[in-house]
Symmetry: C2
Subunit: 298 residues, 2 copies
């Protein structure tokens, strides 16, 4: 297998400005994302949402890429139309023109550099492993598919990562996080080029991933939030949460604690983009995935 085309996407969420800015920069100065062995193409995924500095216009674009959504003839939302368009340009899903896709996001949570695997195939694991070697604080989130046909933009292509960088507020640019996102994508391109050249860069035998388990919602009364992330837990993404540890501090002064026995690792703690869904954080388990280089590519 040879990688012929790579898609780099920014502005999937319109108020996560970093990716949109990098698309603009790389469009003007494409040398830094060019590699001799494949073509790289840039996409601004949700231009109207970027213009209006909103996550989306009608619905979350990053949930619009299920096969049945793409095939539906009665979807009229702006994002459904963009998904159809992007699938034509980048995909089509299942027989995609682009072998690999990088989708650039930001988070208000203390996520640092987070690579999200929505498919744990070997190339994805190796890509994540290589980037983690280059930027050692990188964390890897694995979201196991709940069904074969996934709703995410990255599911258009057989390989790819969602790049999530933070903490950063919505609606602004930080030079340091632009530089970090730039670095992540370039390491990814370097790795892919090394594969094509038959001189695959070294990666460790395994990676530690945070495997998504479940979401935790804010305490609410009459649709109003009555408890905030406990100050102890705030910014402690990826750290162990054990039975009895505080999760929320409530309007009335009470504290809600984590009640289960199983140790979990919260991520996306206090992500502003999830308030509209009332989601306070996601809980993960720690797992190890092999990256054995001798395996056949799938």
């Amino acid at each position: 297998m040879k990688i012929l085309n790579v898609a780099i996407v920014g502005g999937t969420h319109g108020n996560e400005l970093t990716g949109a800015y990098l698309v603009r920069r790389w469009s003007a100065y494409p040398d830094s994302i060019s590699r001799p062995s494949f073509k790289t193409k840039l996409f601004l995924a949700n231009p109207k949402a970027v213009e209006q500095n909103r996550r989306f216009i009608d619905e979350d674009l990053n949930r619009c890429f299920r096969m049945n959504s793409l095939a539906s003839t009665d979807r009229g939302t702006y994002e459904a139309l963009r998904a159809f368009y992007l699938n034509q340009m980048i995909g089509p899903k299942g027989e995609s023109k682009h072998n690999v896709i990088f989708d650039m996001h930001t988070s208000t949570s203390n996520c640092g550099v987070m690579l999200i695997l929505k498919d744990n195939n070997l190339i994805n694991r190796q890509l994540a492993a290589y980037i983690q070697c280059q930027i050692p604080d990188t964390k890897i989130l694995y979201i196991p598919p709940i069904q074969d046909d996934q709703p995410y933009l990255t599911s258009i292509c057989p390989y790819g990562l969602t790049v999530e960088i933070g903490p950063i507020p919505q609606g602004l640019l930080r030079s340091d996080l632009i530089a970090l996102t730039d670095e992540v994508v370039k390491h990814g391109l370097d790795y892919l080029h090394s594969l094509n050249e038959g001189r695959q860069k070294a990666v460790p035998d395994s990676i530690e991933v945070f495997e998504f388990k479940e979401e935790v919602v804010f305490p609410q009364v009459d649709d109003a939030i009555v408890g905030t992330i406990h100050h102890w837990l705030q910014d402690r993404d990826y750290e162990a949460l054990n039975h009895g540890d505080p999760i929320f501090e409530c309007l009335d002064g009470s504290v809600l604690a984590y009640e289960k026995q199983e140790t979990v690792y919260p991520v996306f703690i206090n992500e502003a983009a999830y308030y509209y869904k009332n989601v306070a954080m996601s809980l993960c388990l720690k797992k190890t995935l092999l990256t054995a280089t001798g395996l056949e590519l799938v």
Copy 2:
């Protein structure tokens, strides 16, 4: 003079959730903001913007309180109507029912606890001085009036402060910053109560303020930002900016430096709320204001 009524306002900007949350908490548990010598009343300034998690619906509410705006009969925006309503409930401006107003805001800039004086009368200076004594990292921003009739919500009342706390993204709550805002307002109430009791709490003879001088805009081409806050300057609010110091790093790799000879002190560096106006930061001068307790109250 005796202070009879104090207004505490949250949610003036709908995506700065901290103040709105405290209004909800204090409404449920009013003891903490009650003081024996005056009445305290709570206001959620822009409920529709809070509900929609947006800064405003039609225009910035915190610029709607000029006398001629309030008197106009042809303003139909949501915020113009809210301003009229709030002026009736809190004011009316010029003969206000409430002697003092606290308006709670948040910022994405690294502002820490910032008290904004839009009127430097003696009570305001002393209020700020007292709060700064209690929370030593507190900074004071003074915005000299460009005309007598100011557009800010706080201008309804003769005395009052805008409380600006950060850094925090828009659209989320942090327990630590809720606690800090809570503390600031309570110290303010304590000071006012001490004035009423004739046992005025001690304040220093003077305060250092950052006096607003001018705004700096982002470099743009065709309405698109082509330069971001230089990584050296990011988060350096209140620190000296001298001739030659870097301000912006641009899409093409170039750096724009501060060119004037006068040392200035930037604040609101990278405030997300000002991107729509293209404002990158405000520059201030450092000044000293007296707080002499022997002066007559104005």
